[in-house]
């Protein structure tokens, strides 16, 4: 009966849909997408109630300069993709493109920081209007995610240089970076234009 259940004639194989880390990160990304959707819809609703946007007396956002920055971020995402392709040939080959992606990402974050300093001088602050409040909230949230992802990429890069990194860990970090890159154009189109 149920007492002798612990012996089996043979072991059936255990099925994995995808590596654990990859599934975990994908679920996390889905949650994050919903959070950004919340921010963007809140912004859209609030903005719809204004006759002019930006509100009177508030500076315009530097849409042109940010376009440069946007292309840096997208280039970084493409680099990550190259890193993935290189990994398939030889994991060691993935190091260089990862580093380039990392540097481009860093450029993006620093550029954003410089822009913020300028905007604050122009009078756009968290409390100057809902324009400022949403700008710093949404773009800041994205910057936070970008910084965290860059940190993760940095760790992965260092591990690649040292002991090596497992494929699922590399893939999971990559996916998170793709997410950071992919939400950006949406935020840019909604918030800057």
């Amino acid at each position: 009966m149920s007492e002798n259940i612990l012996t089996f004639p043979r072991r059936l194989p255990r099925q994995q849909v995808a590596p654990n880390a990859v599934i975990g990160v994908l679920i996390f990304i889905a949650t994050e997408i919903m959070m950004f959707a919340g921010f963007v819809s809140a912004f859209t609703i609030t903005r719809a109630a204004y006759n002019t946007w930006p509100p009177i007396g508030q500076p315009r956002l530097p849409a042109g300069a940010t376009l440069i920055n946007t292309s840096a971020l997208i280039a970084s995402g493409i680099m990550m993709h190259f890193a993935a392709r290189a990994w398939q040939r030889d994991p060691a080959l993935a190091r260089r493109p990862t580093l380039i992606a990392l540097v481009l990402g860093l450029f993006f974050v620093c550029f954003q920081g410089a822009e913020w300093v300028r905007l604050i001088h122009e009078g756009l602050t968290l409390t100057s209007s809902n324009h400022g409040a949403f700008f710093y909230l949404i773009i800041g949230m994205h910057g936070l995610h970008a910084s965290a992802a860059i940190l993760a990429l940095g760790i992965v890069y260092l591990k690649m240089a040292g002991r090596g990194v497992s494929e699922p860990a590399f893939r999971a970090t990559r996916f998170f970076w793709y997410f950071v890159v992919a939400v950006w154009p949406v935020l840019y189109l909604r918030v800057y234009l």
Binding site: M1, S2, E3, I5, L6, T7, F8, P9, R11, L12, P13, R14, Q15, Q16, V17, A18, P19, N20, A21, V22, I23, G24, I27, F28, A30, T31, E32, I33, M34, M35, F36, A37, G38, F39, S41, A42, I45, T46, A49, Y50, P55, L126, T127, S129, N130, A133, F134, L137, M141, K159, V165, S166, P168, A169, A172
Partner: protein, 580 residues
């Protein structure tokens, strides 16, 4: 992609940390120190118990709060024994924290985190969650969230009193809520709790996808595991917008932004949308695990296959999807476009269909079975009976026409308590009494269990049936003292309020029996053996309580979980892992 089982069992954590099991060598062959065993454990069963006990302790606090404010309802201005005189401000703080605790620190941690942690690896036949350390972190963050919440009651100004729905501007401006610190700590506590459940949810879903026993196909997964997994997905999909709203609320409270301030171009109704976009799915997040628990129990104690397994499963998925399209039924009065109100009326009435269907399925499962009325079975049946009342009254609220009269009255309050009490109390007792033997290796006392059952369920109705009546009589929610409203201070309504409060006192008194039974049985109960209920699911096919690593050898799975009374077999059950 497939991996051999041995490799998998030790390759949980792909992030490349050296893995806890790997460090300690073979399962169960070593003694951990006290701290490692009880406080720093990565074992899913220990984490489940941590969640269970923390949740129960919080539930006691939430129950005590309800005692204090119910006394104030029935005998306004009198000294409440054990609490003192309830001031208006304290009254608001009590109801707010009562609601918050019961939903976020009792229902969620016990139903999803405690039983999810305990059952998922055992029922799937694996040795632990796929990310054991993330699991431990999840509990630690949860504990921190509870501490932050409790601490918020002791800061200057006291705890938050703006209702568990935290509508601005009351929640956003300290000149209105008078709790400059308490309100922010409340938001932070809830946010931390969400992080804990996000980590837990990732674990649950990934484990269910990747670690099932060899041979366990989609439709061989026990219903309760499915339900907890669907609930986790639902939680994670709906919580994002509320987190966004919570960040905005904290900014409004502490940094001086005006997201929800109409004077500065903000929109207070926006919060209600962000809140209820999460809030309504949340009611299904707690409902689905409860429904799953009931499915396990009624099949075992009626010795029958679950009627229409696939239908229940598809219904759960359908309900989960639909629950994203009903939220605005909480705003029929707050001011939404009447055309939208019609749409949301339709979706709301629609969502009661799948729930009703599940109840019919359960009745069909019981029909013709050989029913044994054990304590867990009584709780499961009690769930079905009581929850139906909650569901039926929801229909009146979902119809925007009648809701205009019922909104924010005690009718609404009684409605959702007829849903939440079956979930957070009745189903929790069902699960606790049913899996107690597996958790602690001993049986609970049946006589005490039955006394406790009747002593809980009868007073429960005694509390909330009168509140339907006071609600229809015009009693508004969140009123400190009805003596100030002469038209509500009639002998009939006064009697109803007193009846409800006295019933609550009776209910609380009977909980003592549960705790006596619980702790006595834990230490002195008679040994349970592996499978005291003759159940099929895998958790019953190992020793009680299961050792670290759960199974001496990880089981295979050969059939579905509900093969009871199969013709031609000697025994009326057929464990999932038994060959042939």
């Amino acid at each position: 992609m497939s991996q051999p089982a041995e490799e998998h069992a030790h390759a949980h954590d792909d992030h490349g940390h050296d893995h806890d099991h790997g460090d300690t060598g073979a399962h169960g062959h070593h003694e951990d120190g006290f701290i490692k065993k009880y406080l720093w454990s990565v074992d899913h069963k220990m984490i489940a118990k941590q969640y269970l006990f923390t949740g129960m302790a919080m539930g006691l606090i939430g129950g005590f709060f309800s005692y204090a404010f119910r006394m104030q309802m029935a005998y306004p201005g009198h000294n409440v024994p054990g609490f003192g005189v309830v001031s208006p401000n304290e009254y608001n703080q009590l109801i707010t924290n009562h609601g918050t605790i019961m939903i976020f620190w009792l229902a969620m941690p016990v139903l999803i985190a405690a039983f999810g942690n305990f059952l998922i690896p055992l029922m799937l036949g694996c040795d632990d969650m796929v990310f054991p350390r993330i699991n431990r972190l999840s509990y630690q963050i949860f504990l921190l969230s509870a501490i932050v919440l409790i601490a918020s009651w002791f800061v200057p100004g006291g705890g938050f009193g703006g209702a568990w729905t935290a509508y601005p501007p009351l929640s956003a401006k300290s000149q209105y809520n008078l709790t400059p610190l308490g309100s922010t700590m409340w938001v932070i506590a809830v946010a931390l709790e969400f992080v804990a459940f996000l980590l837990g949810g990732i674990n649950f879903v990934t484990t269910a996808m990747n670690s099932r026993a060899p041979g366990m196909k989609m439709f061989d997964i026990p219903m309760v595991v499915w339900m907890i997994v669907i609930a986790s997905i639902l939680f994670m999909a709906s919580v994002g917008p509320l987190v966004a709203g919570a960040v905005m609320l904290v900014f409004d409270q502490q940094l001086g932004t005006g997201f929800f301030d109409p004077v500065r171009g903000g929109d207070p109704i926006l919060w209600q949308h962000l809140f209820w976009f999460f809030g309504h799915p949340e009611v299904y997040v707690v409902l689905l695990p409860a429904v799953g628990i009931v499915a396990e129990i009624i099949t075992v104690f009626s010795r029958k296959k679950l009627f229409a397994y696939k239908t229940v499963l598809y219904t759960a998925f359908g309900t989960a999807v639909l629950s994203f399209f009903v939220w605005a039924h909480h705003q029929f009065i707050a001011g939404i476009d009447p055309r939208m109100a019609n749409v949301f009326t339709a979706t709301t009435v629609l969502i009661s269909i799948p729930i009703a269907e599940m109840m019919f399925v359960y009745v069909a499962t019981l029909y013709g079975g050989s029913i044994t009325l054990t304590t867990p079975m009584l709780w499961a049946l009690g769930f079905i009976g009581e929850f139906i009342i909650g569901g039926v009254t929801g229909i009146f609220l979902g119809s925007s026409g009648s809701d205009i009269y019922f909104h924010d009255t005690y009718f609404v309050l009684a409605h959702f308590h007829y849903t939440f009490v079956p979930i957070a109390v009745i189903a929790v007792f069902a699960a606790t009494t049913y899996w107690f033997p597996k958790m602690f290796g001993t049986m609970m006392n049946e006589t005490l269990g039955k006394i406790h059952f009747w002593g809980t369920v009868i007073p429960f109705n005694g509390i909330f049936i009168p509140l339907f009546i006071t609600g229809m009589g015009g009693d508004h929610r969140r009123i400190y003292n009805y003596a100030n409203f002469p038209e509500q201070w009639t002998p009939h309504l006064i009697q109803m309020r007193e009846f409800a409060t006295v019933s609550l006192l009776v209910l609380i008194a009977f909980q003592g029996i549960f705790f006596i039974n619980f702790f006595y049985s834990m230490f002195k109960g008679k040994p349970a053996g592996n499978n005291p209920w003759n159940a099929n699911t895998l958790e019953w096919q190992t020793v009680s309580p299961p050792p670290h690593g759960n199974f001496a050898e990880l089981p295979n799975c050969y059939r579905g979980p509900y093969e009871y009374s199969v013709p031609g077999r000697e025994e009326d059950f057929w464990p999932q892992n038994e060959v042939g």
